[in-house]
């Protein structure tokens, strides 16, 4: 109190008011505006793309579209049902390959490797593989599985497509498993080892369950990424205008329709109806990927609890 008094007595009330035209306030305001502008520009494509696809494709959704085969060129009645099934099948095959390999690799990195050169090499390789363009994965599978007809003499097939997508999924799954396991406190491992658990039992019964949610989130995100890929599927799974015979093994060793390749094929056809089917397929694909992303967020929220 006395200090304020002496201050006042000195005759100078401190001027603390905001002066909008001071230089620092002008530059601060300008920079805030600029940052906000770029943020808007950054999300603009997202909103426009999603909005355009939803408007163009959403209006064409009907029961027939979801249950019927695409028509031959020129006819105007049919749907995209075989491609929806195909995308699910190819993604499932990819997950069947990538999840065991990726989770196993992640377990090795986090639990067994002692930061030696081999582990370093795998981590580095995983990061590189995550950045490899998806068409390279397609070319690789085309060269190793399709042209060699290694799968019982079949060339293009759902399995080859799934393998190409698995190559894209594996880095994501390895990384999230590795990081998920690293988040498990060492106290838990020591506790398990302290009551006489072997390393294997510790991992299977204690650490993996504790890291289950981040791993599951990573797997779902990996599937979401792979499901939308076109390039690796064009020359591995190819395309089919028919139902795949999924009740017999021949079905998954034959070419199969997928949503992304259907979009690629139909969007450039000179037939109005097929173009519309491509839009509808885009809509369905976006909704599927959106649903997977929401599902992974939901998983992550469970983990936080």
């Amino acid at each position: 109190m006395t200090q304020t008094l002496t201050h006042n007595q000195a005759g100078s009330v401190p001027d603390l008011s905001y002066k909008p035209f001071q230089r620092r306030n002008i530059s601060s305001g300008a920079l805030s505006f600029l940052a906000a502008l770029f943020a808007v520009i950054a999300v603009l494509p997202l909103i426009l793309v999603l909005g355009y696809v939803l408007i163009q494709g959403g209006s064409k959704i009907s029961l027939a579209l979801l249950t019927q085969l695409p028509p031959p060129p020129g006819l105007e009645e049919g749907g995209i049902a075989n491609a929806i099934v195909g995308t699910l099948v190819v993604s499932a095959i990819a997950a069947l390959i990538a999840v065991p390999v990726g989770v196993g690799g992640g377990i090795f990195l986090a639990e067994y490797s002692r930061s030696g050169w081999f582990a370093q090499f795998i981590r580095f390789g995983t990061n590189v593989l995550a950045g490899v363009p998806s068409i390279i994965a397609g070319v690789f599978i085309y060269g190793t599985i399709v042209t060699s007809r290694i799968l019982f003499g079949n060339a293009y097939s759902a399995v080859a497509g799934g393998a190409a997508l698995a190559v894209l999924m594996i880095p994501t799954v390895i990384k999230t498993t590795d990081e998920g396991l690293k988040l498990v406190p060492d106290d838990l491992r020591r506790g398990a080892l302290g009551v006489g658990a072997s390393r294997f039992i510790t991992i299977v019964r204690i650490t993996l369950p504790a890291a289950l949610t981040p791993i599951a989130t990573g797997v779902v995100l990996g599937i979401a990424r792979a499901a939308g890929e076109t390039a690796p599927l064009i020359f591995t799974a190819l395309f089919s205008p028919f139902w795949s015979d999924l009740l017999t093994p021949e079905g998954i060793f034959a070419p199969i329709a997928t949503l992304s390749v259907m979009i690629y094929n139909f969007a450039i056809m000179p037939y109005e109806f097929h173009n519309e089917l491509a839009w509808a397929a885009s809509f369905v694909l976006v909704v599927m990927i959106l649903a997977l992303n929401l599902f992974s967020r939901w998983l992550a929220r469970i983990a936080a609890k």
């Binding site: 491992r189 506790g191 302290g194 009551v195 006489g196 658990a197």
Partner: protein, 273 residues
Amino acid sequence: MTILQQPQATESHNEDVALSLQNVTISYGNFEAVKNVYCEIPRGKVTAFIGPSGCGKSTVLRSLNRMNDLIESCSLRGSILFGGVDLYGPRIDPVEVRRRIGMVFQQPNPFPKSIYDNIAFGARINGYAGDMDELVERSLRQAAVWDECKDKLNESGCSLSGGQQQRLCIARTIAIQPEVILMDEPCSALDPISTLKIEETMHELKKSFTIVIVTHNMQQAVRVSDMTAFYNAEAVEGGTGKVGYLVEFNDTDKIFNAPQQQATQDYVSGRFG
């Protein structure tokens, strides 16, 4: 400097010795953390390791059930005999060692499972074939946490308070029926009331188990232990940092009332450390 004083054990049967450390030196990489430890830990008693920070008492404790194996650079010279068998012998399975020599850690670390499963986990993986419900109840009773848990055996072990969690961890260790229980500062994260309960638990436990406890709390050593080992650290010429060693090992009474070494006298009277 190192003094081995345990006339009872050496004169009577070797049966009375649970663990025998013979010239144990433990290093992290090239750095010797603790050297030339001779010590015979008696069976059925509570032995306390005391000493200032960095004197290697926790390191020695962890070496007793090969927990140091988890630390990459850690190596041990000398031998630790458990019932006449060298724990660091070439054909020893560390998992087998840890089943007989259990450990309770500084931080309570219950598994993210139900209270029941926390206890049953160790017993199941050790092939326990008896009545699991009975084992769970007996272990929880022995660890003096049964009354607080009996109505919520299916709730997560993490839902308990810190002191209860630590007693759950003790119960979990008891459930595998080890011969020795190692405790690494089990009360340092707990409040005085919980500490008291754990100390009471230890008095009960020493009837059936050999207990080795590391503690920073000298009063705790006086209250719970029969034997006390005092470790100290000192700089050695040519070395980097301090090297720990065992100064004196004797009855707790003697260590605190009539120590034979000046360093022990200084430490227990609070002059340093």
